[in-house]
């Protein structure tokens, strides 16, 4: 099973690298957007899937990364990527430090709500003050450049490559992180925080570190989003977006990094499918209906997300002996709230 996972991830990244050769402009643009959301989903997976902290305010860090990109870009001339990117990631990570330090005092449903509350605060700050340009949002003056004009992020292909590089880096970093001692500690916290404390771990700093890393990654996704669209608005911090990214990782399957990847693609493709006028004609503007119904169907039929589908099929084929596997899932599953 282990080698098949590796094969899947490697194949996915090879396919992403080859995609611009096969697809037209629309396809490249769509997959760029999905990869940005995949980074965003991975950032949340670190909290929800790996640490068991259900954060309902992840869009705040995404939005702050995006707003920082636009606000830090000078009026005259393009900024260098080399300082703009770290600055935006840092801005998001700093807000995550503040939010995490306070909200990690609470647990369960309360934690969900406090993170949501902090995201709403950020939302109202950009929505109601002159800083964020109100409901209309603000435009990006100039796209950042790398080492002179070596990499022109204004070109779709160059931006595609840059986004893919970021996604690969984030995925690789998280893979290593979760295998490290730190990652093991997070897994321990997810399964049983009480027991971790009893064995002498002070769990708070671990959770806070995970929160800050996750916030920074969401900030990176926000940066990419702002550069891609050249435009930010308060929607980027809205609780709908926090909900959507949560749905991506649940849809994909919690507890697996590739679940976040699969979820981001599945969610975006579902969206595109139901939005398509070629298929649904006039009805396409009611695409939320189809999306909503398919989400409900997924919950009903795929309790372990899309990642769990192969195993579910195997279980079904094996018949009764599969029951044993089902029990083992209960043991591993964490107290998510």
């Amino acid at each position: 099973m282990k080698s098949s996972k590796f094969f899947f991830v490697a194949a996915a990244f090879v396919l992403l690298a080859l995609w611009p050769l096969m697809a037209g402009q629309y396809g490249v643009d769509l997959v760029t957007k999905i990869m940005v959301f995949a980074i965003f989903a991975l950032s949340l997976e670190l909290l929800v899937g790996s640490t068991g902290l259900v954060c309902f305010g992840q869009a705040a860090f995404f939005g702050i990364g995006a707003y920082a990109t636009v606000l830090l870009t000078p009026q005259d001339g393009a900024p260098s990527l080399l300082w703009l990117l770290p600055a935006c990631v840092l801005a998001a990570a700093l807000y995550a430090l503040l939010v995490g330090a306070l909200s990690l005092r609470t647990k369960g449903v309360y934690f969900i709500m406090v993170t949501l509350a902090f995201a709403q605060m950020a939302y109202y700050v950009v929505h109601d003050t002159p800083l964020g340009g109100g409901t209309d949002g603000i435009y990006l003056m100039a796209k950042p450049v790398v080492l002179g004009t070596l990499l022109d992020l204004d070109k779709p292909m160059a931006f595609y490559g840059f986004t893919l590089a970021c996604l690969t880096a984030v995925f690789g970093f998280l893979t290593l992180l979760l295998r490290s001692r730190f990652g093991r500690a997070l897994a321990g916290i997810r399964v049983n925080e009480q027991r971790m404390r009893a064995t002498g771990f002070s769990t708070y700093p671990y959770k806070l570190a995970a929160f800050v890393i996750s916030g920074g990654m969401a900030g990176l996704a926000g940066f990419l989003f702002a550069v891609k669209d050249g435009f930010v608005n308060p929607e980027l911090i809205s609780w709908h977006l926090s909900g959507e990214v949560l749905i991506m990782i649940i849809l994909g399957g919690l507890g697996h990094l590739r679940g976040a990847l699969i979820g981001a693609f599945a969610f975006a493709l579902l969206q595109e499918f139901f939005k398509s006028e070629a298929i649904f004609g006039e009805f396409a503007k009611h695409w939320h209906l189809g999306l909503g119904l398919s989400i409900i169907a997924c919950v009903a039929l795929l309790p372990r997300g899309l990642v769990g589908v192969p195993e579910q099929v195997i279980t079904r084929l094996r018949g009764r002996s599969g029951r044993v596997r089902d029990d083992s899932v209960v043991e591993v599953s964490h107290e998510s709230v």
Partner: protein, 293 residues
């Protein structure tokens, strides 16, 4: 702020707070008793408001003309809706974890919003209060106050008291409280817990729909109104302590005051104030003001 404004804002805060309590009580009941996080609860409020707009012409001409008929028909439909929803969707969610509940009820939000869009469109509508509740009433020498807002406060207060009575003094309330504490034990005592849950859920839906209907003339009817209410109701439930009706009442009134006076005194920051309040309370009491049993 002079005395008259202050008193009027106090009454506004009371009205808003009581209405919030009504919606939030269903949310906290369904969470406290069945352990289900229902994101679609705000949609029931929206459905109520749209009933006041779209159902009234069918039932009694206008909302103001056929007021009681519309309320009655709306309530019956709401109970039916709650019963069917519980049977079709929510009864499967009791055993699932909270994340899956969030996911499925988020799907329901999308479905309700789009059905609303398909059936009655995306326009903003105003709804007229009934004639006998229109106009203003002089209160003392200082001020006059809209009768309809007083009516809302009165109805909410009566419902809150009725709910309190049902919970603490009746056999049904006793079964519900017992059911929330230990499902298996109640079942083995011969009580049909499935039916009990269905009744509680239908009641929660009906209360939210009712709140939406009576709020329509004050708040107007617009797409997405359910989500706005939902988030504020979550704040109410969390500040009050999950599952606690008493806590929900206190928290709703508190938020009514903070929101209403915030809009007058600090219009720039009014959106943030409620969340600042929540963060402060949770920092001092991480489990809310009244943690239920």
């Amino acid at each position: 702020m002079d005395l008259t404004t202050f008193l009027i804002q106090c009454l506004n805060a009371l009205q808003y707070g009581l209405l919030l309590f009504l919606v939030a009580s269903g949310l906290t009941l369904i969470f406290g008793i069945m352990g289900v996080i229902n994101l679609a609860h705000g949609s029931f409020y929206m459905i109520g408001a749209y009933m006041a707009y779209a159902l009234a012409p069918i039932v009694g001409g206008t909302f103001s003309g056929g007021f009681f008929a519309t309320l009655a028909v709306g309530l019956v439909l709401a109970v039916l809706l709650g019963y069917v929803l519980e049977w079709a969707f929510f009864s499967f969610l009791y055993e699932r974890d909270h994340l899956q509940q969030v996911l499925m009820t988020y799907g329901l939000i999308l479905v309700f919003e789009e059905l609303r869009s398909l059936l009655v469109g995306d326009d903003v509508h105003g709804v007229q209060a009934p004639d006998f509740l229109a106009g203003t009433l002089p209160l003392g020498e200082l001020m006059t106050y809209p009768v309809y807002r007083l009516f809302i406060s009165g109805v909410c207060l009566v419902l809150a008291l009725a709910m309190y009575f049902v919970f603490t003094r009746t056999r049904l309330g006793m079964m519900i409280r017992a059911g929330s504490a230990n499902r298996e034990m109640v079942q083995s005592l011969g009580i049909d817990i499935k039916f009990l849950y269905r009744v509680v859920f239908a009641a929660g839906v009906a209360i939210a729909v009712f709140a939406g209907m009576i709020a329509a003339p004050v708040s107007s009817v617009y797409p997405g109104m359910g989500n706005t209410v939902l988030i504020i109701c979550f704040v109410v439930v969390v500040i009050g302590g999950i599952g606690s009706i008493r806590g929900a009442l206190l928290a709703a009134l508190l938020i009514g005051v903070v929101d209403t006076f915030g809009k007058v005194l600090l219009p720039q920051a009014s959106g943030v104030l409620v969340y600042v309040l929540m963060a402060l309370i949770l920092l001092v009491k991480p489990d809310g003001l009244f943690k239920a049993g």
